[in-house]
Subunit: 530 residues, 2 copies
């Protein structure tokens, strides 16, 4: 069963061994485990539902609590400490577009706030129920999950928008196809959620972002249904798909989505390449991505992330051997690990990998083969379970991400890490901050930073630590000309920083768009635009 107060399935544990704990203790001090609130105790906090009855709506506290929050650190703090705060008054599980239509009509009639959701994996506060007197309905889309149509000639697949990642891939794989969208939240996130938040997967270099995959569909809005037909391309005015992408539930609910699929790749491999330092590594990956090779992934860890990954990898002896070898080849302290993925026809994939290695070589790149890459692949959706394990030892893990053009990539990385350190220092704490470039483009890169720091053990202090950290890193992102999100979306947590990139007129254009389609402003109020 899915954890109600943490990541993923209850049966899956990602334990931290003694070496790993020693490493963390050395970096930020020893953690003190915190006692979690119980499920029943948390449920008891929910008030009586204020919703008028509806055939599709469940109002039990258990269901409401399980659909109350996402995976942001403030969400975790509420759940772990049992300080639930607001929660939806009920949860609906529609099974058809007509069900969704009925629910929106009901919501308009009774002026109910509607929070569309998929697998509840938001890390930006998209799912938080607003306070105030308005009743709140969560619409959980995960029962709308079927592959409705596969057009192999046009390589298009139409799904119910609530389909979860593994289910979607399984339905396609049975027919020899893949979507290829693998965000770290893959196991619990949905197609509709990916579209609504402009998600990006680990192999976007081959498969594109969800923006490129999303070819059409159907959206139920308070003002009616928006049908988005599929065209290979169009010059006919505004591309309405772009208004749905990134709308974060403010416009309506995506009920079905048509996405671009491709035949399962014949061959897939992940290789690791080490570089002696950041400057060499960054120059190399820029040249590789600008060469336009047919790679499926480039993921560059900075030196501290490299150290961390090696420390947490287990296999102490093997890693020791690897490090001695790398040191002999010029990659000692300060080394940075690049993961290179290739997928597709065997000959072409191997040729692309060879070209990438040729470009890496003059920058001191040392190819160590597939071992680390396959290890990374095995753990690609397991790493996120680390958050549960760290918490149980008294550590919080949080992440932020942005994207900037190449001249600002390194400055951004250094500034975000320094801002996090300063913020926690003001609380008398240390942070272990490390960064990777998760998505590479000819124009620039996403900059993805992880922060590990100690829990204080009470809700207010831990919320205050997080608030300081979040504000500091967000100001740093904005101050260095980055977007407030490359792949997680805006939600509640990033909303205060959005105007910095959209400007006054851009903000008012977005607001007017949502008000036009949703004149009562019932759709996910307070998210994206605060």
């Amino acid at each position: 069963m899915k954890r109600w107060n943490g990541w993923g399935d209850e049966s899956v544990e990602f334990a931290l061994n003694g070496d790993a704990l020693a490493f963390l203790a050395q970096r930020v001090g020893a953690g003190t485990p915190v006692a979690d609130a119980g499920f029943a105790q948390a449920c008891a906090q929910l008030g009586v539902s204020r919703l008028p009855p509806h055939r599709l709506i469940e109002v039990s506290p258990e269901v409401r609590l399980r659909n109350a929050l996402g995976q942001s650190l403030p969400d975790w703090l509420r759940l772990r400490y049992g300080v639930i705060g607001t929660a939806p008054d009920g949860v609906a599980y529609p099974e058809s577009a007509q069900d969704v239509r009925d629910l929106l009509d009901y919501a308009q009639q009774y002026r109910v706030a509607v929070i569309p959701q998929g697998g509840g994996t938001s890390v930006a506060g998209h799912l938080t129920a607003p306070g105030g007197s308005q009743p709140v309905l969560a619409v959980n889309m995960t029962r709308m999950r079927q592959l409705q149509y596969l057009d192999t000639e046009s390589q298009l697949a139409t799904f119910g928008a609530g389909v979860l990642g593994p289910d979607l891939e399984a339905q396609l794989r049975a027919r020899g196809y893949t979507l290829g969208h693998f965000p770290q939240s893959f196991e619990y996130s949905t197609l509709g959620g990916w579209v609504a938040t402009r998600s990006s997967g680990q192999q976007s270099l081959r498969y594109g972002r969800i923006e490129q995959m999303f070819r059409g569909g159907s959206v139920e809005t308070p003002s009616g249904t928006l049908h988005l037909p599929t065209f290979p391309a169009s010059a006919a005015g505004t591309d309405l798909r772009e208004l749905v992408l990134g709308s974060e539930g403010r416009l309506g609910i995506l009920t079905e989505a048509t996405v671009r699929v491709t035949p399962m790749p014949e061959y897939e491999a992940f290789h690791a390449v080490f570089f002696p330092n950041w400057a060499a590594a960054e120059t190399a990956v820029r040249q590789i991505v600008q060469a336009g090779l047919s790679l499926s992934m480039l993921r560059l860890s900075n030196s501290l992330e490299t150290v961390t990954m090696l420390a947490l990898a287990g296999h102490r002896k093997l890693i020791g051997l690897l490090e001695r070898y790398l040191s002999l080849r010029g990659c000692g302290d300060g080394k940075c690990m690049l993961m290179v993925g290739v997928s597709g026809r065997r000959a072409l994939a191997r040729a692309a990998l060879r070209e990438a290695l040729v470009l890496a070589q003059p920058h001191g790149g040392v190819h160590v083969g597939r071992f680390m890459g396959e290890k990374w692949k095995q753990n690609r959706f397991r790493n996120v379970y680390l958050r549960n394990a760290a918490w149980s030892h008294g550590y919080a893990i949080d992440t932020v991400e942005t994207a900037v053009d190449w001249p600002r990539v390194e400055i951004m990385m250094r500034s975000v890490e320094a801002a996090a350190a300063a913020a926690l220092k003001s609380h008398g704490e240390q942070v272990h901050a490390y960064t990777h470039l998760s998505h590479l483009y000819a124009q620039g890169a996403s900059v993805y930073s992880t922060f590990v720091y100690r829990l204080a053990g009470d809700y207010e202090t831990d919320l205050a630590r997080w608030k300081s950290l979040k504000k500091a890193v967000s100001m740093s992102i904005v101050g260095n000309g980055g977007t407030i999100s490359h792949q997680h979306g805006v939600g509640l947590d990033h909303a205060p920083y959005l105007a910095a990139e959209k400007g006054r007129l851009g903000m008012s254009v977005m607001r007017s768009l949502f008000e036009h389609v949703d004149p009562q402003q019932i759709m996910n109020p307070g998210k994206l635009l605060s």
Copy 2:
């Protein structure tokens, strides 16, 4: 000097030889040349300017006439027959964003309609002045043409948005870069126009559509300035660039644009491959484009376009030899010509071409080398001059284009050609209609049809013929589920068909967006949304 009543420079002629004229006469009957109206005679039709004076505005009839119309067939009929109808009351040539700002403030103050324009190449009526009592100002952006900044690290170039294609490429070439956007209108179209109409160039397979190239910029609107910062990618809500793309002057005026550029390719070649028939050719190109090879162009002519291109090519003896060779190899009557372009690093480009030829072979593809391809490349921007030559012999040439998913490509092609034939038959005339797929995608293709038919010799009859043709082919496009434009935009001529793909709600969303930014509705009124 640029022709005032036809395409391109007065010094460039594309003559039709006797063979070509015999071919046309055989297809649709002998044409009768029509006498053109004179420039002075046309100028004399313009009334007195109704604009209040402004330092940036010129009001001479000569300047107004030269900025009055585009290149659609109705535009030509007005100019050739001297039936000018509406025209702007004045033309401004701003040289800075501040000039544009001043002009929009002036326009709002005096409630003047504003028609932004670049090189005046619209084939959809984007530039036509509305009738009625409101004075009309054309804002010609071509003096804002400088490369302002080239960021080689991020491969981004910022230009004044009025820069013409050849000027833009020359400024980049001097620094070793190219944009790679080559619509057939390249010589006279501008960067801003490409963005405003969602243009696509001949080598979009390598370089992308303008949507992919356009990374940011600045737009002056009646409600202020919209700054679009550059990010490699973003998940921060609505992508505001998408509201500018395809806005056709309704939102404001793009003053500068930052575009993605790449180093000049080391190698470039165009090769021709013939197929025995349409079915084989279509299957082959679908497989080639879905293989994701690094090609720069795929352009497939149907059999009648192939016949036409060979008939108009001159070189009768050489073409005769080619046809005998093709016939021996199984490509006789009904053969279809595919043009394959490759650009980039020599080894990779050649490998991609080889792969494409391997995929073509099982479908009867016969590779005839570079001769026809290089010929096509030489004439890529000259073919459009054929329209002047045909007119001088009494023939009209018009085109329409759409895009559809693969299952509908052939149906669309046949329907559009049949609709054109039926429409002109109702006027007792024949049409020579032929089609190519100009842009290929994994999902489908653009379908681009050309129509040659006889001029009647008077404005009303020729306008009636065109109206019948345009309505019939547009209805056919919409009826077969195509977009009303893949690359030309909507303007006046396609506006009646837009609702078929956008739907009621989509249309109202677009309208509300433009009304929000331009409350007085002074920006290019009547275009895109009629």
